[in-house]
């Protein structure tokens, strides 16, 4: 049967009446589809609900501490003492210590992790690359208590020696000076332990990114007279940077929140900020503070520790947001 355009349909087309638009996105119709759709939707929304709920209930318990100490003092002030009257719960040195250790740890870990990934992806013979991949992933799975014990029992004495050597050679630079001549339990050692923990995380993700790189682009760079070094620096690294930073963010989260490993290898100093003397035995870490104080904490201090959790939560969120923003800004081509 053929459908001829009648006068009226022709008229309709020439008129300004917009044709009825169909929505092309169909709703799930089969049962399996419906169930799957519902489960996925619920899971998706539950992540929002969970984050909000955690923050809300933490906030509820933490509020008394914020109220008694004042929000600004709680976050930026120094001193933590439950035996004085009034009690002092100021998080400043711990919070700064967390950021410092995470920053140094990431700075040490990133070049190392990228080198490992480059070796696995572009240099190592196939078999070695496979083994190395498994080893790196295994390293990422080591529980932090094990790393902490290793840090305490095995690594700290060695790293303290490194610290002493650094201080003797470069002590004229303020960050390497050490007035107390004790090199154990310093932010330097904590940063190294953190670096050991996050190298495999960053390496694992970076290797994945490298392995998915378009070989044609690398060949193109080679055909233009690129050397291994220049191809890596000018083509591979910029192309992979978005993914690498994703790995670094994940690692940063672990570094900021690391508790027990840092607790074992760092001397927590509540009263003073150790701004930059990374070889001296004095530092801070929010999560380790919670671990250190939680056992003996009574009501008010408990509230302060929960408040510390809230602050860590929010600071981690801010750090991640800033980092994501920088990544997006630095890669205009990704908007295409």
């Amino acid at each position: 049967m053929e459908i001829q355009p009648t006068d009226s349909t022709l008229e309709n087309m020439s008129n300004d009446v917009a044709p009825k638009r169909l929505k092309l996105r169909s709703k799930p119709s089969r049962t399996a589809d419906k169930v799957f759709f519902a489960v996925a939707k619920a899971a998706g929304y539950s992540s929002f609900v969970l984050v909000a709920a955690i923050l809300f209930f933490l906030m509820l318990r933490a509020w008394p501490a914020f109220e008694s100490q004042g929000v600004v003092n709680f976050i930026f002030g120094a001193g933590w003492n439950s035996t004085t009257d009034p009690q002092i719960f100021h998080l400043g040195p711990m919070l700064y210590g967390s950021l410092l250790i995470a920053a140094i740890g990431v700075a040490l870990a990133v070049p190392m992790a990228i080198s490992i990934s480059y070796f696995i992806s572009f240099i190592a013979p196939e078999r070695l690359a496979k083994v190395a991949t498994v080893v790196v992933d295994l390293l990422a799975a080591i529980p932090s208590i094990v790393i902490g014990l290793w840090g305490l029992g095995v690594f700290s004495p060695v790293a303290a020696e490194w610290g002493r050597m650094l201080s003797e050679a470069l002590g004229f630079i303020p960050i390497f000076s050490n007035a107390v001549d004790i090199f154990l339990r310093s932010p330097f050692i904590a940063s190294l332990v953190i670096a050991v923990m996050i190298v495999p995380i960053i390496a694992s993700i970076t290797r994945e990114i490298f392995s998915q790189m378009d070989q044609e682009i690398i060949k193109g760079a080679m055909a233009l007279g690129g050397t291994r070094e220049s191809i890596f620096r000018k083509v591979i690294l910029p192309t992979a940077s978005g993914g690498i930073v994703g790995g670094v963010l994940l690692a940063l989260g672990r570094a900021m929140g690391e508790t027990v490993a840092i607790f074992f290898v760092l001397n927590l100093t509540f009263d003073d900020f150790n701004w930059f003397k990374i070889l001296e035995p004095s530092g801070g870490a929010v999560a380790s503070l919670v671990l250190a104080r939680f056992n003996e904490a009574l009501d008010t201090e408990l509230s302060a520790l929960l408040a510390a959790g809230v602050v860590l939560f929010v600071v981690t969120l801010i750090v991640n947001t800033i980092a994501s923003y920088i990544v997006a800004k630095a890669q205009p081509w990704r908007k295409l």
Binding site: E126, K219, M222, A223, L224, G225, T227, S230, I231, T239
Partner: protein, 258 residues
């Protein structure tokens, strides 16, 4: 006479692991000529063109015997740095592969940066290179836009311009139009004919008409029954297509297999 064949190969054999893929390929590429390499898929023509700028380096199992002479010097000689070979012998690939993180301008200058050479007159070089690839007028106002904002055909011409910025003596093209529409293909063919005034061009193509339109000489590659690929016939394009000496060439160029 020595200037006439400044690129030639002598008895090139290539192996990938145990597999012998090319046997005794000896070809001469004349200055200011376009030479087309044709043949059915798997005949080794792409493998061959990559021996001309040492691109097999990335494949650990690849082995080679024979010589590739550029101005009389073997590019596989011990003392030769493959990077210098590739500076002299440019290459354009099947799929356009501009650097995604770079702008149009940065793509043009990327070869100089990658090979560690000084950029003296960047603007001038960008302009002449894009002009030689006949796309200057299209992109002159958008040099700082990402290379990926260009269409596929433009991206391929950008890749040609990028190679030209290195001022190579030889340009290798491995099926440069196979991913492009007819309009873009025609423009690239026109560019090839302009470029050959100043350089030697070797092009792999699956397209018989393209070979006839652009090439002065044509080499027909064939790999029969799992044997290594060989050159069956190498002659002027006219002879290969109009008066082939070998029956297999005749059958292939007339579309009876392939």
């Amino acid at each position: 006479m020595s200037n006439l064949n400044h690129l030639e190969t002598k008895d090139i054999n290539v192996w990938f692991g145990e597999r012998h893929v090319l046997r005794d390929v000896s070809l001469q590429f004349q200055n200011n000529h376009v030479t087309a390499l044709i043949g059915p898929s798997g005949c080794g023509k792409s493998t061959f063109i990559r021996t001309l700028n040492r691109m097999h380096e990335l494949i650990p199992s690849a082995g080679l015997s024979g010589q590739v002479l550029l101005n009389g010097e073997d590019i596989y000689a011990q003392a030769v740095d493959p990077v210098n070979v590739r500076i002299n012998i440019g290459m354009v690939f099947q799929k356009p592969n501009p650097f995604p993180t770079m702008t149009i301008r940065e793509n043009i200058l990327s070869g100089l940066k990658l090979s560690g050479r000084k950029i003296e007159d960047g603007d001038g070089l960008v302009e002449t290179s894009l002009q030689r690839a006949s796309m200057w007028n299209e992109v002159k106002d958008r040099l700082s836009e990402p290379a990926l904002s260009l269409s596929g055909g433009q991206q391929q011409r950008l890749c040609i311009a990028r190679s030209l910025a290195m001022d190579p003596n030889v340009l290798l093209m491995d099926e440069p139009c196979s991913a492009l529409d007819p309009g873009s293909t025609r423009r690239i063919e026109e560019t090839i004919l302009e470029l050959k005034e100043n350089m030697t061009i070797v092009i792999v193509t699956h397209n018989m008409q393209q070979a006839q339109r652009v090439a002065d000489s044509t080499a027909f590659f064939l790999s029969e029954n799992g044997n290594p690929g060989e050159v069956v016939e190498f002659d002027t394009t006219e002879n290969v297509f109009m008066r082939p000496k070998d029956d297999r060439t005749n059958e292939y160029v007339n579309g009876r297999f392939g």
